[in-house]
Amino acid sequence: MSVPYSLKVGPFTSNVLVRKRHILFYIAIFWLSILAILIEFWWYWHLMWTNNNPLYFYIFLPLFAFIAYVSLVITSLIISKIFLVVVNVIHKPKEGVFLRYPSDKDYNYWGIRNTIKKWPIWVSHKFPFPFLDNLCFKVFGVKTKFSNSLFEGWVDTEFIEFGKNIVVGQASLIQSSVIVGNLLIIRKTIIEDNVRIGAHSIVMPGTVIGKNCILAAHSLTTVEQNLKSGWIYLGIPAKKYKLNKFFEDNLESKIEESVNLDDVRLKYEELYKKQERIQVNFIERRKIKEEKIKQEKRRTGRVVS
């Protein structure tokens, strides 16, 4: 039920710290949001504590702790939203391909935005209520509905549009930004209504998933891939598998019929075809072998006698 640490689903924002001084944002939000709890506790102490008989103080303490946690989430959200608005006025977030270097302005501000969002999202994610995550998304300006269940996977908090009734599986990643070598790629990903994303699957930035699609487990989409609506996709990278007819009515008895596994294997082998071996002559093969031996000798630093 709960997501274990090995699936690595923590806060939704990326872990990159561009400059160490960005931690200052972290500390400011952390500090101010905890001050609110202290004020609440001071008020509760005055209301309930009596030296003779503090029974009511103790009875309502768990309920107070619950309310304090929710208020911590909300205050940290408000403070970080104010920070975000100020930062976005200074530099507007935009899509594109940027250099991964602190002097690059877009990369720098991308890091700042993620560090600001991190604390409230971490706090809301550590709580077992699913709706707090959706509330975080809505405050930070991502289009979502409360009917989506996104809390089991990793979802980026910028440049994403969600429709209705989306299910994101365990340990799956939905990204709008990715670091490849020396580059930072930010593209808008759009996921439309009734999409089911399987466990362990990865959606790269810039993909558009149409209505009523299913992305099966253990599959991956490339950057800026378009998945047509009404199909089941599968594979690395994702390919068309078959039409999605599971949104029709009265299929219970048809699904119940058992699957012939040999047919399934034939179909999967098409998707995962092995590369055909290059046929080479006897002489060419010898040349390749000699080259490999040379490379090995160069690597080990041995002088050829």
Partner: protein, 296 residues
């Protein structure tokens, strides 16, 4: 019509792919179940605090005992959470009995709504136990929620559904594996029993879909998946996407019972020179280095 087209037409409605198990509709009504669970289970450590702190009159003793008491109180809280969520589960199962089958994942369907309720109630206690540093504790919660499981099996770092699962003895579930007995496909929710027999191993990051039966002594490799209602025969290594037989599992033949006994008194001593495990081409490197030292 070619063979491939025929196969696709035949398997139009068959489930030969895997999606995820997740709760579709999230409502605020779950909050009203959580509040009493949190309140009552929070009261237990507070009662402990209320009774025992006034008895320690010296400050030093109370300071020394503080870490131990905090540790004890957290586990009192967890045990309380498990207990009260079990109470709610019993009440809900009296109203509607959990059963396997194919249901519609919509608001009107009774089975789907009760499935959501059950998973939400179990979630908090299991979440607490998974984040606790003690091993084997989540097995205790599994037993408490009604899954047949021994203390000999390990599943601490994996996602395992808590319904319709049968464990044998000494089952290993790898890190990051997803074992699910329920799956959402399109409009439908599929719930099927899963059987993991004795001495089975499920590899890391692999997914097991509803309805699979894994036989005795089989190993499902890492990063591999099983399809709906697949049967893995006993005594084999399985691997792939979907899982297929790789080779017979000969590692299973060496069991603790069959290890040879050696009489210590009659044993003969051998002096054996062990070769270092390096490729033949690189062995010269070691000799070269020795020669260089001699030259110097």
């Amino acid at each position: 019509m070619t063979e491939k087209e025929k196969i696709i037409e035949d398997n139009e409605f068959s489930i030969d792919f895997i999606t995820s198990s997740a709760i579709n509709k999230i409502n605020l009504k779950f909050l009203f179940i959580y509040i009493p669970i949190l309140w009552f289970s929070g009261l237990i450590p507070i009662i402990y605090w209320y009774i025992f702190t006034p008895k320690l009159k010296s400050l030093l003793a109370s300071l020394i005992l503080l870490p131990a008491s905090i540790f004890f109180m957290t586990f009192l809280f967890i045990i309380g959470c498990v207990f009260f969520s079990k109470l709610f589960l019993v009440l809900i199962n009296l109203i509607h009995k959990p059963k396997e089958g194919i249901f519609k994942a919509e608001k009107g369907c009774k089975d789907f709504e009760f499935w959501c309720l059950r998973t939400q109630i179990k979630k908090f206690a299991i979440w607490l136990l998974n984040n606790s540093p003690l091993p084997y504790v989540d097995v205790l919660a599994f037993r408490w929620f009604g899954v047949k499981i021994d203390f000999s099996s390990h599943l601490i770092d994996a996602w395992v559904d808590i319904e319709f699962i049968n464990f044998g003895r000494k089952v290993m579930v790898g890190q990051g594996a997803v074992v699910m007995s329920s799956m959402i496909v399109g409009k439908y929710l599929i719930i099927r029993q899963i059987y993991l027999d004795d001495y089975t191993v499920v590899g890391g990051q692999s997914t097991v879909s509803p309805g699979t039966i894994i036989g005795k002594d089989t190993v499902l490799g890492a990063l591999s998946t099983t399809t709906y209602k697949q049967v893995l025969e006993s005594g084999w290594l399985y691997f792939g996407f979907p899982a297929r037989t790789l080779k017979p599992n000969k590692y299973a033949e060496i069991k603790p019972k069959t290890i040879r006994k050696i009489d210590v008194d009659n044993a003969i001593k051998y002096d054996v020179d062990f070769d270092i495990n390096i490729d033949d081409e690189k062995k010269d490197l070691i000799n070269n280095n020795n020669n260089n030292e001699e030259v110097k």
